[in-house]
Symmetry: C2
Subunit: 259 residues, 2 copies
Amino acid sequence: MKEWMVTDLAKLAGVSVRTLHHYDAIGLLSPVRVGENRYRYYGEAELLRLQQILLYRELGMPLETIGSILDDPRFDSLAALNEQRSHLAAEAKRYRQLIRTIDRTIAHLKGERAMQYENLYKGFVTPEKQAEYEAWLKDRLGDSTHEKVTASDSAAKAISDQDMKERMSALAGIEADLVKTMEDGTVPQARALDPLIQRHHAWVAQMWGRDCSHDAYAGLADIYESHDDFKQRYETLSPGFSKWLPIAMRSWTRRVKES
Amino acid sequence: MKEWMVTDLAKLAGVSVRTLHHYDAIGLLSPVRVGENRYRYYGEAELLRLQQILLYRELGMPLETIGSILDDPRFDSLAALNEQRSHLAAEAKRYRQLIRTIDRTIAHLKGERAMQYENLYKGFVTPEKQAEYEAWLKDRLGDSTHEKVTASDSAAKAISDQDMKERMSALAGIEADLVKTMEDGTVPQARALDPLIQRHHAWVAQMWGRDCSHDAYAGLADIYESHDDFKQRYETLSPGFSKWLPIAMRSWTRRVKES
DNA sequence: TTAATCCCTCCCCTGTCGTGAGGGTCAAGC
DNA sequence: GCTTGACCCTCACGACAGGGGAGGGATTAA
C-alpha cells in the first residue's frame, strides 16, 4: 500500500503543494489519512482522483463543479462532458473571431501608417492618384471604428513644408545608395546591406514621429509591394527595385530579430 | 460638447458602472471632469478611449498592459497586437486539443457503459464473441487512463444471477412489444412509441444502477448500431429491427429534450 | 548536536469586478 | 416646503484559484 506526502504527490501530478492544500481546504481532495503531526498522507485512490480533477480542470471547469461530478455518482459525467464540449467549442469560435478582429485591426493600423506615410508623399503623386489611394485605403480598412481618431491624429501630426522637403531629400539620398547597391549586383538578403537599411529604417521612424518596430517595418514592406503607386515609384528609380527593396527590408528585419 | 455620467457611458459601452469606477480607481479611464458633488463626467475622448480599452480587453490583455499601450505613444501597438494574436492562436489551438480530449473521454465513457452493458449480455454471446468484443472495446478506447477504475468499478457493480435473469426477461418483454409495434408498420419517429421507449429507457437506467441521461441513451443507440453483436441480436428478433430501434431511441431523445 | 529539509498553519496578495450598506444630490409632484 | 424616486458617491467584503512567505514543529543525515 503506497503512500505519498504532499510534495511527492505534487511532483507526481505536476501541481504545487499549495494547490493540494487548497484542494484539501475546499474539500475537493482530502488526504486518506492525517498523521498526529497533521501531515497529509495520500493513497492511490487520491492520486486517481487528483488525475480526474486535473482532467476536468483542464477543461476549464470550476473546482466546485468538478467536486459535484466526482462526489455525486448520480451526476451524469457524460452530459457534463457534452456541455463542456459545446462550451469549449463556443470559446474556440470566439477566439477565432477575435483573431479575425485582430487581423483587421492590424490591417487597419498598417493602413493608418500608410496614411501617414502617404501624407508625406503628397508631393509625389497627383491629386487624382491621391483620391484613388484613399479609396483603396478605405476599402482595405473595412472596420471604421477608429477612423475619426486616425484622421484627427494624422492631421495633428502634419509637418511643415520645409521639414518635409528636407526629409524627402534625405530619403532620396538613401534610396539612391540602395539603388546603386542593387545595380552592383547585391542580393537583397545580403548582410552588407545592414547599414543602409538601418538608415532607411531610421528615416521611417523619424518620419512617423514614433518608434518603428520591426513588425511595423515589415508591414511597410507589405505596403510597398501591394500598392501600385509605391511600386511604380520604385520601379522608376531602377527596374526591379520595387521587388528588391521589400525583400531587403524583410530580411533585415528577420536578421535583427534573431540577434 | 456632449457629456455623460457613469450610467450613460456604461450603457453606451455595455459595461457596468462598477467597471467604470474600477477603471477610474486604477487610473485606466478617468472622467474628464469631476463635479463638486464628486459625480464623474465623461466626454467624447473618454468614450473613444473606453472603446479602445474594451477592444484590447476582449483580446484578453490585462488592464495594466492596456493602460501602457494607450498611455505611452512610444508603445508599439502593432507589435502588441501581433503578440496578442499569437497568444490567442495558441489558446485556440489548446481549446481544439481539449475538445479532442473530451471527445476521446466521451468515447471512453460510452465504451465503459458498453462494457457494463456487455457484462449483462454475457449470457447471450459465446465466450469467443465475448473476447472479440472486449478487443473491439479496447481498440475503441485508445486512452487507457481510467481503465483500472473502470474495471474495478464494473466488477463492484456485478449483479447476482437471479437478478440478471429477472431483468433480462423484463427486457425481452419490452423488446417483444417494440418488435410488434414495428411490424405493425409504425415508423420509428412516431410519438406513439413514447411510452414503450420510456419503458426501455427506464430498464436501461435500472440496469446501469444510475441515471441514464438523454445523451447517454443516444450514445447507447450508437453502440447498438456500431457493434455487430448487438446488430445481429436485434436483427434476429425481426428483420430491420436493428436499424429501427436506434432511430426510435434517438428520436425519442430529441423529443423529450425539446419539451 | 546541529543543520538541512521536510511539514504544518495563518495570513496577505493577485486581478476584475459583483454586491451590498449607508449616505448625499437632484428634479418632479403634492 | 416636503416627500418620493432615481440617481450618484464611498467603503468594504467576497469570489476564484491559488502564490508567497513568516513562524514553528518534525524528521533525518552528518
